[in-house]
């Protein structure tokens, strides 16, 4: 294992730098609720507003896209690569495979076989993948390998195997009184005995100037969604395409920064829904 991998892995295991004061989450939740209600200015027209990291980024960096309708859902490789890739990490960490390329086929086959045998869709994409021809299937597998390889090679997953939860369901929180839902997901949660956990988030592209708030948002939504669970102490962000690995230490100020970001995004969305899309600058 290289020094770089050791350092990255240690970054997921270091003790918390900051204490989260008593009542911090309660205060932050109250601020978030009042901020959203003020920003939305009444019931939002249209469907409930779902706020996640993609929306936060769009509002900050590409506001002209806020008013565009989402494409209807259709399976594509980009929707499979994360869950398949994380399962590949699990399989490689167990020592069964020498790397993602060797693991991806057997892992995908096992998922499809399990679905056929039980009818249970662990990953949801099993029927879609099962129906693909060899060419399309290989694209899906290749996309998963490309996604997961930097994730696999950045950390010592074998060392983390007993303390890490990979993937898992999205964290969700509905703001009381308005149709605004918050949603977040992390790629890994690293448990530490007697200490707050660390989170790992993998993102595409380059980190923008709001990356701290975006990582803190994942700690915020985790704290709101499962109040009994310890609030994350640190969120590590990995941007493989641009080679960045950054971390934010979670304290009340970091959570408040995320709250401000959510409120700003909700306000922008409310404006767009009321007035139409933000004009595109020539």
């Amino acid at each position: 294992m290289t020094a770089r991998v050791q350092a990255a892995t240690a970054g997921l295991l270091v003790p918390p730098v900051h204490d989260l004061g008593d009542g911090a989450v309660t205060r932050v939740r109250a601020r978030l609720k009042s901020g959203i209600i003020d920003a939305i200015g009444g019931p939002p027209p249209g469907a409930p507003l779902e706020v996640g990291v993609p929306l936060l980024r769009r509002a900050r960096y590409r506001p002209e896209l806020l008013g565009l309708a989402d494409e209807p859902f259709a399976w594509k490789p980009a929707f499979v690569r994360r869950s398949l890739g994380l399962e590949v990490v699990r399989a490689c960490a167990s020592g069964r495979f020498r790397g993602p390329l060797a693991a991806v086929g057997p892992v995908a086959d096992h998922a499809v076989e399990s679905w056929r045998r039980t009818g249970w869709r662990t990953f949801h994409w099993e029927p879609w993948l099962a129906g693909l021809g060899a060419g399309a299937r290989s694209v899906v597998l290749a996309e998963a390998v490309a996604w997961v390889t930097p994730v696999w090679s950045t950390f010592d997953w074998t060392a983390l195997r007993d303390v890490v939860d990979l993937g898992g369901p999205d964290d969700r929180w509905a703001c009381p009184g308005v149709s605004v839902h918050l949603k977040g997901r992390v790629e890994a949660r690293v448990r530490r005995h007697g200490a707050r956990p660390s989170l790992l988030s993998v993102a595409s592209g380059c980190p923008g100037n709001g990356w701290r708030d975006e990582l803190a948002f994942l700690a915020l939504i985790g704290a709101l969604a499962v109040p009994d669970r310890p609030v994350a102490s640190r969120v590590v962000g990995l941007w493989p395409e641009s080679g960045f690995r950054l971390a934010v230490e979670v304290d009340e100020a970091a959570l408040s920064g995320a709250v401000d970001r959510v409120v700003d995004a909700v306000a922008m969305c409310a404006d767009v829904r009321t007035a139409g899309p933000v004009p595109v600058l020539a």
């Binding site: 390329l101 290989s138 080679g243």
Partner: protein, 336 residues
């Protein structure tokens, strides 16, 4: 990936695709020998030195500080194709709009072989090349118009395309070695580097990257697959990849290579300090050209790949400062 095709692409149809091997006795590498050629470049692998990356960033930064933020809507995306077009001399320049493509049989062949190469690396097998390539291509929403274009081809053209894709795939499967998973091979790896905040973004998607992240010395090799003929511009593209990877990973790749599926040629170039500096200079000239502040080195064809391929002595001046390196731009220098 690219077709890399010139006007001689159709000679393949007449059965002269392997002329090199027939004429000279040269045989394309395959299996372990191909891998060895990629792995052993004949030069020591470059050390990972933070100062090198800092120098490259400084060089690039020195020429983009005066660009205006309204260029390309505030985010100028630089790709290898866009760079090559921007640096073409006025004679060879074609209209440039990001993502704009003129469909052709060679371009379609390149896209299909690209999908099949990925399939060979990932699964090691191809059954029906054309059908499976189209199957894979159809999953990429960005290729929808190309898939439609192929589906509307005249039967004779489609037959020609199918024949060429079949032929190249058979050779690819025969020659391309299985890659050890512990080397972390990955296909279509996306690399992005932001410069000047987010004003400029260097963007690359490499067909194949092999190797673990570098520690003390370079450990990654990059391979670009070409379904057409060799062209001087390919070297420039590979060097751009080396530059972007060096900036992204804070460590250069140790080699960049073009693999020609039609002939089995593997053109490997060891990555050196001078190569990266030259790539950065070329990239900077292209950025400035795209931003509308081109200097003489662009308008006189200094960086034009099409001019460089002409069989006469170059009439353009060398770029200022190039003499302080040992790099001689291909094809004036020798291919590896």
């Amino acid at each position: 990936m690219g077709s890399g095709a010139g006007s001689d692409w159709r000679t393949v149809r007449g059965g002269t695709g392997d002329r090199t091997s027939l004429d000279s006795g040269w045989r394309p590498l395959s299996g372990g020998a191909l891998l060895e050629r990629l792995r052993v470049t004949g030069r020591p692998r470059p050390p990972v030195t933070p100062s090198l990356v800092a120098d490259l960033q400084s060089l690039l930064g020195s020429g983009i500080g005066d660009l205006h933020s309204e260029v390309d809507g505030g985010r100028l995306v630089i790709t290898k194709d866009r760079l090559t077009r921007a640096l073409s001399c006025p004679v060879h320049r074609t209209a440039d709009r990001l993502g704009e493509r003129n469909f052709s049989v060679p371009l379609a062949c390149g896209a299909l072989v690209d999908v099949l190469f990925r399939q060979v690396v990932t699964t090691g097998a191809v059954g029906e090349p054309m059908a499976e390539a189209l199957d894979g291509l159809a999953l990429d929403g960005h290729q929808a118009s190309l898939v439609t274009w192929i589906s509307e081809m005249a039967p004779a053209d489609l037959a020609e395309l199918t024949s060429e894709v079949d032929r190249q795939t058979v050779r690819l499967v025969e020659r391309w070695p299985a890659l050890e998973a512990s080397w972390l091979p990955r296909t279509q790896e996306s690399i992005r580097v932001a410069l000047a905040g987010t004003l400029v973004e260097l963007s690359a998607r490499v067909d194949l990257a092999i190797g673990r992240p570098a520690e003390d010395e370079a450990s990654v090799a990059i391979v670009e697959v070409k379904s057409g003929s060799r062209r001087p511009a390919h070297r420039d593209e590979l060097r751009f990849y080396a530059l972007v990877e060096a900036l992204r990973s804070q460590a250069p790749p140790f080699a960049v290579a073009a693999y020609y599926t039609r002939t089995g040629e593997l053109d490997v170039e060891p990555v050196t300090h001078d190569l990266l500096v030259e790539a950065a200079r070329r990239c900077l000239a292209g950025i400035r050209a795209l931003a509308g502040v081109a200097d003489n080195s662009v308008t006189d064809g200094t960086w034009c790949a099409a001019c460089a391929a002409l069989p006469r002595a170059t009439t353009v001046a060398r770029p200022p400062g190039v003499d302080d390196t040992t790099v001689v731009a291909y094809p004036h220098g020798q291919a590896a």
